[in-house]
Structure formats: C-alpha cells, structure tokens
Symmetry: C2
Subunit: 483 residues, 2 copies
C-alpha cells in the first residue's frame, strides 16, 4: 500500500492525543486530500500497510501569528544598556529591517523560519503580512510578489500556510497618511481584497487565504466598513492586532471614546471569523463581549514578554472559555512549548498561584486552546487527530530526556513544563512527512540561502539595520498620542 | 604536545568572551591543575600544539542552586485543573518524591541531570542538599552517603560540583521539630559541619565544599550563631534560601519583627561568603544592606515562575550592583539561556519596558552577572576566561540557526534571546572536554540508569508520588503561620 515513504496512507501508534484525550493503539488513515479519513483507537494490532509510529502522536499546532521577515532580527533588536527601551523604539529597529527586504530575501528568511517552526512543533503558520510594496512605496508589478515569496517558502519547507494580506493606511489615530518608513505597508481594503482574491489560485491542501486589518490605529474607521462589505460572503479568517500596548488603548479612547476591543464590539464588527491578536489590555466587559461574538484570540507570549507589552490576564481570559491560539509573532521563540511556558509563567508570577481552578490553565488546557483556536485562526473547520481535519501530526520521542520514565497521563505536562530537550523530530503536514527523524530534504539549501540573506541584511552594507537609518525614522514618544 | 584529545594543553579560537568583552584570536593555555595558565588575545596564528576551536568560545556558567533529586519530577508536579495550587501544595508533592529516594536512585537521577546541565551550558553545579537521612529519619551508616552519591554522579557526568550540606531543624517559625515527612532532612549545625569536614577529602580540581542553612524558617535562631562559630575560619560559600514566598516573609515578621533578609542583616550574619537564594520579596533597605555586606544573590527564574513565587524586582536588584547568579533549583528548565529569558521577560512584563537604562539588564549584563555571581556561589575566587580561573568553556557553534549571520557584537543577544535552537555541543570542565560535538562518553549508561530510577519512582509501586501518600503529609494552609 505504501508507495511513498514520505506520504503514508495510514499510521498506527500505541498512544495518541485525540480530542477526548490520550487513547491507546490508534489507527489513522489518510485520504487523497491530505486529511484524516478515519481515526480508530483501540485497534490492538497495526493493520497491514499502516506505518507504525513508535512513541506517541500529538496533533501539529498552528502558529497563529507570524511576521516572517522579523526572523531576520530575532535576538538582534535588544536594547543597549544605556537606553530606556520599549515597544516603540523596538519598532524603529524593526522598520529598518522591513525596509531592506526584497522578495528573494523574504523568501530565504521565511523558508528558514518555517523549517525551524516545523522543528518547534508547528505544522501550519498564519502570515499576517503588511510589507506589500517596494521600499519607495511604489507597488510591485505583481502586487502579490511578497505574498508569493511566502507561499514559495512554505512550499519549500513543507509547512501549511494561511496568507493574510493586511490593510494599512495611516500612521495612527487622527492621521491621514503613513510615515515615510511605513510607505511600503500601504494597502486599502480594496487592495487587500484584490490580493486575497488573486491568491485564491494558490490554495492547496496546505495553503489557505484570509484577510487582515493591521490595527484600529492603522486603518481608517470607514475602511472597516468597506472591508466588511467586500468580505460579506468571505468565509476565511480576518485577523487584527489589538490592544497590545497601553499607549494604543489610551489613544483609541481619546479618539473614539472606546478602548480598541470595545470599539470593535460597539461597531459590530466581531464575528467568528475575526481573530484578535494580543488582546493584552482588555477589561471584563471586553472579554465577555469577545466571548459572545465567537471571535478568536491569539496570544504571542514570548514576543509580548520580549517587547514588554504587559501582562495578559490569563485566568480572566480562560474563565470566558475563549480558546487561546498561540503565535510566535516576532519569532524570538520558535517553539510552542516555550510559548506555553511564557503564558503560564507570566500568570503564575503575577498571581502568585500555580493552578487557577480552571482546567484551561493546565498543560492539557493550554494545548487544547492552542489546538482549537489555532485551527480557527488558520481558517480550518476542524483541527487535530479527528476525521476531516488536515492530516498533521508530531511524533513524540519517548526516549528524549524530558520524557524518559514519564507516565502517559503526565506526558503533556512534561512536554510543556520540562525543558529544553526537544520532544519530537518528525512532523507530518497534510499527510506528508515534512520532517523525518530530524532530517529535512531541503535543509542545506534553505540554510545556505538564509545565510546569504543575513549577510545581505547585516554585513554587506553601511546602512545595516543597526548602523544609522536609511529612512527618516522619527523616534516616537510613548506619551504622544501619535502612534 | 596533545597527548589526550579530551584533555588539551592549549586552545586557540578566533573569538572569545573575555572579562573585558569579545576579543579576537585568543590563545589559552591550561595548567596541570585544570586552570587557565594564560589567556592571550590578538594571537593571530594558532601556536603549534594548540587545539583550534572554530566558532567562538564562552565561559561555562555555574548553576548556583540545585536540588538534584527534583529532576525526577521535572514537569510532573503540575497542578490539576480543579485545584487552587501554589508553592505549598507543590511542596507536598515534592516531599513524596524526596521520601522515596535511595542513594542509588539519587545518583542515577543526578547523573542524568548533570549531563543535561552540561548540554544546557553549565559546567559546574552547586548542590544545596538536605535529604540527609533514611526516610525513617535514621542516619545512614555513612552520614555523607547521599552527598557521596552526588559526587559520584558529578564524576560520571564530568561536571564541576560544590557540595552544600544544609542545616534543617524545624517545620517552621516557633516550631521545635520537623514534620514526619521532613524527618530525613534533619541536620544540626554540628551535623552539617561534620559532613563538610568529612567531604574535604573529596575535594578535587572539580569538587568544592561549602555549607548551607535551609532557611530562616527551618533553622533555629541559636543555630545560626552556632554555625557562625563553627565556620569562623571557613572560607567556602554559605548558602541559604530566603524570601521566596510572601507567607514566609509574613511569618518571619510575626516571629522576629523583621523580614527574613532584614533579620539576617540585623543579626549580623551576612558577609561575602553568604549566598542568598531567591531573595524574591525584598525591599530597598534589604537590597542595599545585602549590597553593602558583600553577600551574593542567586535567582532561579524558571522555578520561581513555575512555583508562582512572585516577581523579583530585577531593575532594583541591578541598581544595587549585586551580580545575580542563576540556579535551576527544581530543574523544570535545564538551560541557562531560558533562565536568563525568564528573568528578563518577567521584569519586562511587569514594567512594560524593555531596557531599564542599566547595562546589567542586557544580554551581556545578565551573562556577566551569572558568571561573576556564579563563581562566588561555587566558592571559586575567579571565574571566566582569565588566568587562574578553572579552565571551563563552551564552544559556540556559529552554524546553529539562532547564530547564522549574527554580527559578533550581537552574539550574546542572539544566544539568549533567539530560541530554542541549541548554540553549543562542546563543554570543557577543568581543562577536560566533558561534552564533545554533542557526544558524551557515558551517555548510554547514564540514561539507562536514569530510566531505571524513573521506573522505580513512578511505575513500580502502588505508592508512587502522585497516587496517595505513603507519609502522613498534612496540607499546609498559606494563611497559617505554620510553614
């Protein structure tokens, strides 16, 4: 039956995490569409033709929020010791890299990132993309040139991808245009809609399309209404950054009389397609309204911690029942295990408690939230080891130090809370092994291109991102209303 | 010159982190005592006989606080979803494991831990040891049986070790004895002093001895005075847990009229030998007094976050100039890179800033604090790539994804803040390669014994640590004064 070692028809494993928990002796079959055809626990003997997966099997997770290009400065945008650094000074450094990208550099950086994400346990990534134009602000001949670079990178790495072209129109509340260093981000609702429509032809077993609005601050109020009309019959996900920084919340309050999440609620935009990225600074009313709307929430714990965004009230969000998807955002961390730790540990440090009397705060609860919320964020109807879901999986290696001797019912606890030894070296995406026993068929080429791209960004030019500024970047003050 | 590939006489590397920063073309020679004999930057060509180390070289770091046995439940003491879990309920689970230890189980668990610590960038570990007796409370025929097991494990792994037998006398403030589940911890100042004296014969190029007092709550006030007299001419380090939990601070205040750190200051105990572990809940006066005393501070960021201890005021500690050593304590994380991230990220989440205008808060500052403070905690006069210091080092592999294309001056930023790909596979301890290109000569044996020990602890018995309690463990209430 098995015609291709990288593309099995069926798997059998002694232990797998199904939607109702750990089950023994699980037999899974895969359809020609790259989705699970059947999932049968309590199948004591591996049926003929099934690939036997020793160890245990977990669903792959969706990385629900990525700006792939930011991998090019992961760890390289740290404050110097003499600076009072914050999110806004970090953003200045980020722009310096964004403005040096070309489609080929982006492709090289994204391919390396996607390979690392597979190793970090993600089998799908949502690209919230806003670097649309040439650095001058002129459109590329093909307006989807940069998005195409991302799709090619995902194909090369073998990871799943949801492309989310973002509307970006202004420098901040009350502004009518972008800053010079934001020129290449410019996209109206009609531009974004045209990109999503053009990308339809790239849809595949691994590639989905959606839409994004950069944020309440960077999109004009009437453009929210325009995008709603354009996307009236669109069923894909709609992502937006919201309430990441207190300065943004304050400016929104001044400008609109409402906090950003409350504004989205008041204007009636939220529905189950919407995915709120960060949602760090929210109050009880906003959280309850999000829960009622059916919208999703995507947290980016390591990035939010690295940027000093502030503390997400995890117990309060968990009490609403909204599943929390995980995104690696700026990619300072490229492993969902560390993201889950960051999320739980931030809450424990703040509350001085470990458990919150909520199942969602356990390792199993964190994983389940990331699994369910991630599927929604990716635009998938179901996600996990269940019929109809994409055939994505990770093989847990029970001989890795963190898992040696761990009782089965505590496996997920050890996977998340015993670090850093890696727990897997095999990742299945849409029924195909993208990573097998730690080997990736295109690793050498991907790494060589990434190395070359990093050389171009950091070594070749006098205008490297941290050595002066090739754009008239203005330092923004946190206290100003101008974000 | 090189008679042993694992024991070089001299190294040459194109880039190394010396006490004054990154230096190029560094030639290091090693004496027969396992210490650096000379360190010469700007040596353009590798001298004959020197082993050439491609990439870059970092000092090894000291893991300044370890309870090795807790590796046996790393990740396995997480709260269930229906529990209001905290430090004290965690401690109940920890005691269940502590009370199942034998010297051979401890040796097996510690050897696996020490191997993982080498891989996590530590070349030395300080064992704060309080499991002295048999579970019944009867002394072992050799009172240093458990400490000897730790020393044998360190020998097997090839890591450096500072043994710290701890005084433990009572269940809490105002108590005169230990709880039944604490019986095997019992040690008077004279017992601890006798153990340290007996261990003198184990001293070697890699093994040091010191002393510990479990905490202000678990040691009688007059025993502090007794230990001071016994150790009057002792030059090794003296470690103590302090101010990890607010309940402990409150109980100390009620009992003594002073907070725990303030009490140590008031009684005049602190001097440069003293190492304060945690020091989480301190005020400005206490921090200033610690700085004036010359005592060290050891933080355990991942454990403190996992246990919900509360937030350490990092900017305030850094402003005092006290270097912060790092310990992995309960071993939920066994890599100093993640400990450094936990430390920095906790502070960023709390303050909503990234930089604090203090060089100590940068990657270089965090590393330097851990290097200097760690050396003090280990009882070493100097630590790092400098003559007289122990010849410990890590080889940075610049081809690892996190380091590809990173400019040399940003290497340490990327090492700490770009995760999770490992940055090294070679660790030198006292002039000998303990880990070489990822290989460890005794890995298979160590792992097999660990696996067997985990089997004994978690699978074989009906009284496994999480399945009922073989000891009359009483749940302790946070609000009670009885800790």
């Amino acid at each position: 039956m098995m015609t291709d070692a990288f593309q099995p028809d069926a798997l059998w494993t002694p232990l797998a995490l199904l939607p109702d928990g750990w089950r023994r002796n699980v037999f899974l079959t895969i359809g020609d569409d790259g989705r699970w055809k059947s999932v049968a626990p309590e199948t004591p003997t591996p049926p003929a033709g099934a690939e036997v997966i020793a160890g245990a099997v977990l669903p792959g997770l969706v990385n629900a929020h990525s700006h792939a290009f930011q991998r090019a400065f992961a760890g390289l945008a740290e404050p110097a010791g003499d600076e009072q650094d914050d999110f806004w000074s970090w953003r200045t450094r980020m722009y310096a890299v964004a403005n040096r990208l070309t489609p080929s550099v982006l492709r090289a950086v994204a391919a390396q990132l996607y390979l690392e994400l597979l190793e970090g346990g993600y089998t799908h990534v949502c690209e919230f993309h806003y670097v649309h134009r040439e650095a001058s602000g002129a459109p590329y001949a093909d307006p989807t040139a940069m998005l195409t670079a991302l799709a090619e990178a995902a194909d090369e790495a073998g990871i799943g991808l949801t492309l989310l072209p973002a509307v970006y129109e202004r420098a901040g509340f009350g502004q009518s245009e972008v800053l010079p260093e934001q020129r290449r981000f410019l996209a109206t609702p009609d531009d974004a809609w045209a990109m999503t429509t053009a990308l339809e032809e790239r849809r595949s077993a691994r590639i989905n399309c959606g839409l994004a609005l950069h944020s309440v601050r960077a999109v004009r109020p009437d453009s929210f209404a325009r995008l709603r009309r354009l996307a009236e019959n669109f069923t894909g996900p709609i992502h937006i950054h919201v309430a990441e920084q207190t300065a943004e919340v304050e400016a929104c309050l001044r400008e609109t009389g409402a906090r950003p999440v409350a504004w989205l609620v008041r204007e009636g935009y939220l529905d189950p397609r919407w995915q709120l990225v960060h949602a760090t600074h929210t109050n009880d009313e906003e959280r309850d309204a999000v829960a009622r709307s059916g919208a999703g929430v995507i947290v980016c714990p390591a990035t939010e911690a690295n940027l000093g965004d502030g503390w997400l009230d995890l117990p309060a969000w968990m009490a609403t029942g909204v599943p929390l998807a995980i995104g690696s955002d700026s990619h300072v961390t490229r492993d969902w295990r560390e993201e889950a730790r960051c999320l739980a540990y931030g809450a424990r440090l703040m509350t001085r408690r470990r458990g919150f009397g909520i199942a969602a705060s356990t390792a199993a609860g964190l994983f389940s939230g990331a699994q369910l919320g991630g599927g929604d964020a990716a635009g998938e109807l179901v996600w996990g080891l269940t019929p109809g879901a994409r055939a994505d999986a990770l093989r847990l290696d029970l001989k890795q130090p963190s898992l040696i001797g761990v009782p089965p019912e505590k496996l997920l606890d050890a996977v998340i809370f015993s670090s850093p030894s890696p727990c897997w070296a095999d990742a299945l995406v849409a029924g195909r092994w993208a990573l097998r026993r730690g080997r990736h068929p295109r690793r050498a080429r991907i790494q060589a291109r990434f190395s070359q791209a990093m050389e171009e960004l950091w070594h070749s030019a006098s205008d490297r991102p941290d050595a002066g500024q090739s754009f008239p970047v203005r330092k923004q003050k946190l206290s100003s209303g101008r974000l």
